[in-house]
């Protein structure tokens, strides 16, 4: 595995988001072990791995919701723990796998919730905030759903509205002068519960955001083909360890797919889309020892 892992130690000159030797344990159960990678401004990084490989935990660490047990996560070279919650939320937003509401809000209200980090206590969203929320909805093609009840939307619509709410976190009022800092979107399995059509909708929305707004993204997913259609770099994660990392064309190979999922697969460049496609065709016996390590 050493030859594969060497990719993880690669260093960039101007990292936007950087994880260095990050380990994390829930109580005594070690979930992540010395994970390192970095995200360049405007990059789309995929965290790929089977269920239970620690992807969601890694994303929560990146979002500052958890603190690493060991190692360091930095945004623009600044340790996440040292950034104020509201400041962080203006630059980095999270989109969970699914969003279930306890009470029924309208789509616009959900988008406006993204303005939270910009408001002082007791401040009410002004016309400018409403404009920014509407603009965010427009960016994900959900502007016409504005008055709908969120609970009645389809899975794909919900996901795009939640992405819009995340984008509203980045929106800057005219008074917030200065250059717009690079924004990071963290998405946890954004397509896991969607059918093919909605998967395509979400993928094209993400590609467009990356192209038009140069939104940087970290996307956790177990769907290799979805990752191949959106990400430029990937980290392969299995049982909390990095198996391989690097540009997707270099990393996505039959041997890495076998090491990741225990399947034999054909990896080809798709003639029409131009990105890699993975077709699994046989199950293999587990190669990696089942190491649920206790510390």
């Amino acid at each position: 595995m050493d030859s594969l892992r060497s990719g993880a130690v690669r260093s960039l000159e101007c990292e936007l988001l950087q994880a260095a030797n990050v380990s994390f344990a829930y109580k005594r159960h070690l979930v992540l072990r010395e994970v390192s990678f970095d995200l360049a401004p405007g990059g789309v990084l995929g965290i790929l791995g089977p269920n239970g490989s620690g992807k969601t935990t890694l994303l929560r660490l990146l979002g500052g919701l958890l603190r690493p047990t060991a190692g360091r996560i930095a945004l623009d070279g600044c340790d996440l723990g040292n950034i104020a919650k509201a400041t962080l939320a203006q630059r980095m937003a999270m989109v969970p796998q699914e969003t279930h509401l306890a009470f029924d809000y309208s789509v616009l209200e959900i988008a406006l919730m993204g303005r939270y980090p910009h408001l002082r206590s007791f401040e009410v969203e002004g016309p400018e905030d409403i404009e920014l929320a509407r603009a965010a909805l427009a960016e994900t093609d959900t502007a016409m759903l504005e008055q709908r009840a969120f609970m009645t939307l389809s899975g794909g619509e919900k996901q795009r509205v939640v992405i819009a709410s995340a984008l509203a976190q980045f929106g800057r009022r005219v008074a917030d002068s200065g250059h717009r800092p690079v924004e990071v979107l963290l998405l946890d399995e954004p397509t896991a519960s969607l059918d093919l059509g909605y998967q395509l909708d979400v993928a094209s929305t993400l590609r467009r955001l990356n192209r038009d707004r140069s939104t940087s993204m970290v996307i956790s997913t177990h769907d290799l083909n979805f990752a191949a259609s959106v990400c430029d770099r990937v980290v392969l994660l299995r049982q909390g360890r990095v198996l391989a990392a690097g540009p997707i064309r270099d990393v996505l190979r039959p041997d890495t797919v076998r090491a990741l999922y225990d399947v034999e697969a054909t990896v080809e460049q798709h003639a029409m889309t131009g990105h890699m496609t993975v077709v699994p065709w046989a199950r293999r016996a587990t190669t990696a020892p089942n190491t649920h390590e206790e510390r």
Partner: protein, 356 residues
């Protein structure tokens, strides 16, 4: 292709537009809701003391030429009815907002102020004092309200420490389970003590458990006011964070909400408001679940409107129910809890059915 699918998806829009008028700005919704529900509360509160089995004249009540000791109308108004209406307003507002807060905290629309064992603790405290025959007042302070307040805060303390003991942060699942368990546990003790108590004591406890707004004087209200005031001051800091909490705690935290602090303040304030209300009137059911849902159907889900509107409607509803309880079978009084459940229950079911 895509456009046509979107069009199809939005044709049945009529049925799925979010409840409440969302096209208005928040300020406008807040103004309209507060003038509507607040006006209702003020009207109810003004009219309620004038209604009752004994007719009184407003002119005579405020006629200062008659000494108070001889002015029966003024006595009925100021000693019997006005404190009672004010107690109803205080209890109704507290229970309604506490219901909203518990529902948001637990992310569960079925939660009530009594879900987490606060009322069972209060009931146990009150009935222990009644049964053990503690004198009615200890150095001027009536024993039953004090005991029920201590009982409710004790129960809240147990539930809270259970939910925080072995978890990072506050586990709402443990909170819910511990609360429900504590409710049954306290009910079992109450049953046991009742079984071994004599007839008079049992009668007194049962009466207390039914809830009663007959506070006879302003003193109990003044005693409850600091606690209720503290709870409402904390409520005021919560609405926006509670909105975000309904997205889930991770989503809220990622938008910059201090989730743990919000949960703590929510639990503490709602428990305090419930404890103070129950010690004043005994447990009066149904307000904490019917009023929040009714308000949400009218104004939408935004807690910045729902919380003040619920306070006003809760106050108006309980004061109104108490008038019915006092008058409908005069000269006998019905327990006000009977009226809240009898009127609120079917109405709520009708709303539910109509909404489907």
């Amino acid at each position: 292709m895509r456009a046509s699918r979107r069009l199809l998806a939005s044709t049945d829009e009529e049925a799925v537009v979010a409840p409440g008028n969302r096209r208005w700005s928040l300020r406008r919704r807040l103004t309209v809701a507060l003038s509507g529900f607040g006006g209702l509360a003020i009207i109810t509160l003004t009219v309620a003391p004038l209604l009752g089995p004994t007719p009184i004249g407003l002119g005579r009540v405020f006629d200062t030429s008659i000494p108070f000791a001889d002015n029966v109308d003024a006595q009925i108004f100021f000693i019997a009815r006005l404190p009672r209406a004010l107690a109803g307003a205080l209890v109704g507002a507290s229970l309604a907002v506490a219901g909203v807060v518990f529902q948001a905290l637990l992310r569960n629309p079925l939660a009530t102020p009594f879900t987490l064992g606060v009322s069972a603790g209060a009931s146990l405290g009150a009935m222990l004092v009644i049964t053990l025959g503690v004198p009615v007042a200890v150095s001027g302070i009536p024993a039953v309200p004090i005991a029920s307040l201590l009982g409710s805060l004790g129960a809240a303390g147990v539930v809270y420490s259970m939910a925080t003991l072995r978890h990072r942060g506050l586990s709402t699942t443990v909170l819910l389970l511990a609360g429900v368990t504590l409710n049954s546990f306290f009910s079992a003790i109450i049953m046991f003590v009742q079984y071994s108590a004599d007839f008079t004591q049992t009668f007194q406890t049962v009466r207390w458990l039914m809830g009663n707004l007959d506070v006879s004087g302003f003193q109990p209200i003044v005693a409850a006011l600091p606690l209720t005031g503290a709870a409402f001051a904390m409520f005021a800091t919560l609405p926006r964070a509670l909105n975000l909490l309904t997205l889930g705690s991770d989503s809220a935290a990622a938008r910059g909400v201090d989730v743990l602090r919000t949960q703590r303040v929510a639990f503490l304030s709602a428990s305090l408001a419930t404890g103070a209300a129950v010690s004043l009137s005994g447990p009066i059911g149904f307000i904490g679940i019917v009023i929040p849902h009714l308000v949400r159907l009218i104004v939408g889900a935004d807690h910045r409107v729902v919380m003040p509107a619920s306070a006003c409607l809760g106050a108006a509803f309980l004061v109104g129910c108490d008038v019915v309880a006092r008058t409908i079978m005069a000269p006998f009084e019905l327990p006000v809890g009977v009226i809240t459940a009898l009127t609120g229950g079917p109405f709520f079911l009708w709303l539910l059915v109509r909404r489907q």
